[in-house]
Symmetry: C2
Subunit: 332 residues, 2 copies
């Protein structure tokens, strides 16, 4: 299997991306196509390994950044690492793409360059949220679509279900609808109508009803379905709260000699705790509903996170996730 | 000033409510009308004080709980502590109402029994979110309305502005729109159109643009405007994350002898930290847009939180908040 990797995407690119790609090649028996500035990539490669088998460089002189407007950048920066990697997948020179760069550009490119699966109106971005029990939940859509219709959310549930079954080996994933109350009648027009669709589906979906935002970290659901505006609010509130609390806690621990000693004693425990929320363990976020395998690695990915994102791409591809999604969508 | 207090509302009612009411009477020179089961209230009163001046009991034999359907309960439980307190305000026997009971029932009753301010289509629930700098932000709407129109959000901003200026003494409150990106063009139909209204207002609103959910705890805005579905998601994700992190941290600290000793050393620092997120300091959440002063105290209010909620009611009433809201709404 050949995986196109956007070597220039992410906070730690190209260094962490190239090193993560080497790790993945060694561990997972995949071929890597590194898309990006050849000179820079070569230098990192040569300083990291003496085995260059199954690694290829696709030279691209431009980089799409988070500051670029996604659609415009895709159109104008034809010689960017992302556009070249996307085209490699489109032209069947690669079987999947992994990028830790701009989410908007990857989403846009996945839809505009690779294209949607038949029957899917809106591809969605799934984000893996760790919970306190050591498990994860897939939040879908976590930010690709706003002003969703109930039919979109229904498709998100179907795609998420296949993803968890095939890519994460969860038998009958519990699907919940993010809502402001537990009862069926609660919520806005979108959630009330989506509830109906999920409750009356002919597909074997394990729909468990509504989940309130307060319960998200409790591990009650494997898939949390919502509009992308709502998903973004949930995800960013969660990330911001964890970040600010950890920062605040650190500050408190540095405030007196007493707390400094206490802090030193609990440091290993704190690290264990922090690891529960470690993105690098969980690899990347799948963009579901497009014709090929597309994995968005976290922007701050280190080489380990990148390696795990590549593993995810491999699993999705080998399990023919997109074929299964297309089949389910035909039957819905 | 006379304040009707729903003595049976909240997790710690009637005990904490009655005691908080006594504290408020002693501190703020207000008369309290305690609505609820006379026998129970009397017992707590007699065991707490020997001074019964400016405290009156309004007997009500029924209680509306969180399990009741709000509108149905308001209609059927005419002899409930909440309905009687609301009617006391409606009939000008009280100047304000404070309740720590069912949010839905208080919201419904505020609109159905007390009534909306002229020109306001949707009253809103404001929630005070503490931030890491020791300040707070008003999240409005935090859950009263779903499927909002841009005009509703515009009114939420106007009401929040007056509330912060008059009830919290903030000069030119920074108003931000909860959104998925910083740029004006980001968001769903609702936020894009609301942005336009807020940017082009003729009122002296200090609109600072969009705020992302990740920044909410950073103290960048004084008022965060959003639809109630979105506000509920933000608020509950935040509460759930703080709660689960604190639980998880506690567990880690109890895991070994070493962490137990460390935990003991940092305990005071942890408490100081936790206090930043202490609701009891900030009193209650105002329901804005109804004709009289209505304050929702947190469900888990202790006597101190209840006392602070009563103080808030007093401040709103004495500053003629509702008159100011009506004036602004006429000019918008």
């Amino acid at each position: 299997m050949r995986i196109a990797v956007d070597a220039m995407g992410g906070d730690n690119a190209p260094e962490a991306v190239v090193r993560g790609s080497i790790l993945a090649r060694d561990e997972y028996d995949v071929s890597i196509i590194l898309s990006g500035k050849e000179n820079e990539i070569k230098k990192i490669l040569e300083s990291s390994t003496s085995d260059f088998s199954n690694i290829e460089i696709l030279n691209a002189e431009e980089v799409i950044t988070n500051e670029d407007k996604p659609v415009m950048a895709l159109r104008r920066k034809k010689d960017s690492s992302l556009v070249k990697a996307l085209n490699a997948v489109k032209n069947k020179e690669a079987d999947a793409i992994v990028s830790a760069g701009s989410t908007g550009a990857l989403l846009g490119g996945a839809t505009l360059i690779i294209g949607r699966i038949n029957g899917i109106e809106r591809p969605a971005l799934g984000a893996l949220i760790p919970n306190m029990n050591g498990g994860v939940a897939l939040l879908i859509d976590s930010g690709a679509n706003v002003d969703s219709k109930p039919e979109f959310l229904y498709d998100f549930a179907i795609m998420g279900d296949i993803y968890l079954k095939k890519a994460m080996n969860i038998d009958a994933p519990r699907i919940a609808l993010a809502n402001i109350g537990a009862e069926k009648t609660k919520g806005d027009k979108l959630t009330v109508e989506t509830y109906d669709l999920l409750e009356n589906t002919a597909l074997p979906l394990n729909f468990i009803g509504n989940i309130e935002a307060r319960e998200i970290l409790q591990g009650k659901a494997d898939i949390i379905v919502c509009d992308g505006f709502v998903g973004n609010m949930i995800l960013k509130t969660l990330e911001g709260t964890v970040l600010e609390l950890m920062k605040g806690l650190k500050k408190e621990l540095m405030s007196t000699t007493r707390t400094k000693i206490g802090g030193a004693l609990i440091k290993p425990a704190l690290y264990g705790f922090k690891n529960k929320f470690d993105y690098s363990e969980h690899g990347g976020a799948p963009i579901l509903g497009v014709k090929e395998t597309v994995i968005k690695a976290h922007g701050s990915s280190d080489s380990k996170a990148l390696k795990n994102a590549i593993r995810q791409a491999k699993i999705c591809y080998e399990n023919k996730l997109n074929d299964l999604i297309e089949e389910s969508i035909m039957r819905r």
